[in-house]
């Protein structure tokens, strides 16, 4: 009995020590932002920092939040993504796996707040530029269609990316092919859409999607014989940020 309690006590202190380490790590991660903002505020603009109390509370929230997030990452998102990848690889149900990849990409992107904001701004530009009718309905429809296009493109990217891992295709060839497609489409696409298209690649990959998708790719590459997790496991995110550019450029040419 006494031994058990001793073990429990050590694992408890271990947990506390582990979390303290995470908090220290989070403080180190945030130090650069605090330094940069402080330096420009005080040295360059020579202003005092307003609301010091509120900012301190905010910083404590950010530091604790980052520590909790990483704790949850290691306990929840990583193991789940990896165990699912392993089970899919064992069961060998290709169609289900591809459907899963598509839904993961589409589902996580369609409700992404950053994307909703960018789509709304793009619709405004299209209306000002006269690319669509000068009505609110036309603007709303344009924003919705753009969002769907981006979400579809991320779904398609993950399907292609998972398929690539299964087949062991070379990543650089596909990515370079994608770059050439982007450059070619840029020449023919209307200039107003180009900036939005280029930025849309960056806004699609959210904080929860990235760990899951990375764990999925690495998990698949580790469970399939002949695949190397470093060589084949990474690359899904790269697909998910390249394909929206291609889809949005085409969208701009069609509408």
């Amino acid at each position: 009995m006494a031994d058990h309690r001793a073990v429990a006590a050590t694992s408890m202190t271990d947990a506390v020590r582990g979390f303290a380490k995470l908090v220290l790590g989070a403080m180190r991660d945030l130090a650069p932002i605090i330094l940069v903002i402080g330096f420009f505020e005080i040295v360059i603009l020579q202003q005092t920092i307003p609301n010091v109390a509120e900012i301190t509370v905010g910083l404590v929230c950010v530091i604790l939040g980052l520590a909790f997030f990483i704790q949850g990452l290691e306990m929840g998102l990583f193991p789940l993504g990896e165990s699912m990848a392993e089970q899919f690889a064992k069961k060998g149900v290709l169609l289900w796996l591809l459907l899963f990849a598509f839904l993961l990409g589409f589902g996580t992107t369609v409700a992404e707040p950053a994307l909703i904001a960018v789509a709304a701004e793009a619709a405004e530009i299209a209306r000002l530029g006269g690319a669509i009718g000068d009505t609110n309905d036309a603007e709303t429809f344009y924003a919705f269609a753009l969002r769907m296009t981006v979400a579809l493109s991320v779904g398609a990217a993950l399907v292609l990316g998972v398929f690539r891992i299964l087949m062991g295709w070379s990543l650089p060839l596909i990515i370079i092919g994608g770059y050439i497609t982007v450059v070619t489409l840029t020449i023919f696409a209307p200039p107003e859409i180009v900036g939005i298209a280029y930025d849309s690649g960056g806004v699609t990959t959210s904080t929860i999607t990235v760990p899951l998708v990375t764990a999925l790719g690495v998990g698949l590459a580790s469970s399939i014989r002949g695949r190397n997790p470093m060589l084949d496991g990474f690359g899904l995110i790269a697909f998910a940020s390249l394909s929206p550019m291609i889809f949005v450029l085409i969208f701009g040419m069609v509408i």
Partner: protein
Amino acid sequence: MDILTALTSTFAATVLDVLPIAAVLFGFQFLVLRRRPPNLAKVLIGFGWVLVGLTLFLVGLELALFPLGTTLAKQLTDPLYVFGVETVDSAMAADWTAYGSVYAFAAAIGFATTIAEPSLIAVSLKAEEISGGAVQAFGLRIAVAIGVAVGVSLGAFRIVTGTPLPYYIMAGYAVVILQTLRASKMIIPLAYDSGGVTTSTVTVPVVTALGLGLASTIPGRSPLLDGFGLIAFASVFPIMSVLGYEQLSRWFTGRKRRLKKETEA
């Protein structure tokens, strides 16, 4: 009281955000794979931590960093600060050297926000684990952050000079392709991925404010048209810096080995 309302509404928004992902994950787990995931309880607790963590993180950013960061971006691009006058004619604005502190701020804040980016932390942890320590998580993050710093700074220069965005991005692609031909195979997929993960929760709001501030200060630039593009810069340049970091470290180890051989001989 304000904090409590912010916490509850952000928590609700985060849960709504995660709901479709959780539905897909657990739907497939139970309906298609028909197996309980190992350590289901631990995984669920982990999800709970992620939700709580993200909520605190977002509320804290809104409270402490975003207001300061975006006001700073606006003040540094204000004509009154840059030129000391209220209105700027196009001859003055064409002088791109006047914006020195804007480029410095763009680089510094790009670097700093990238170091704090949670998705980059996730990918770098995974990379260190998979590579058996050959890729150091913190070193990778520094390399990516340097890429973002250069990218955002150059993006600010582009908005000031009004040169076309596609030229920069195409040149960036050309460099990436050349580097890919020379880089070691192992680092390439990770480098490509690091382009996509740099721009999320922390970087986007501050960088966007910087772009919009610049585009509305300079005559002849439209915030709607020219404010875009900084995110694109922040996604291409980290690929270069990660590939470059690997090439440099290979070159250094190679040189050390050569020097050692020479001294031995």
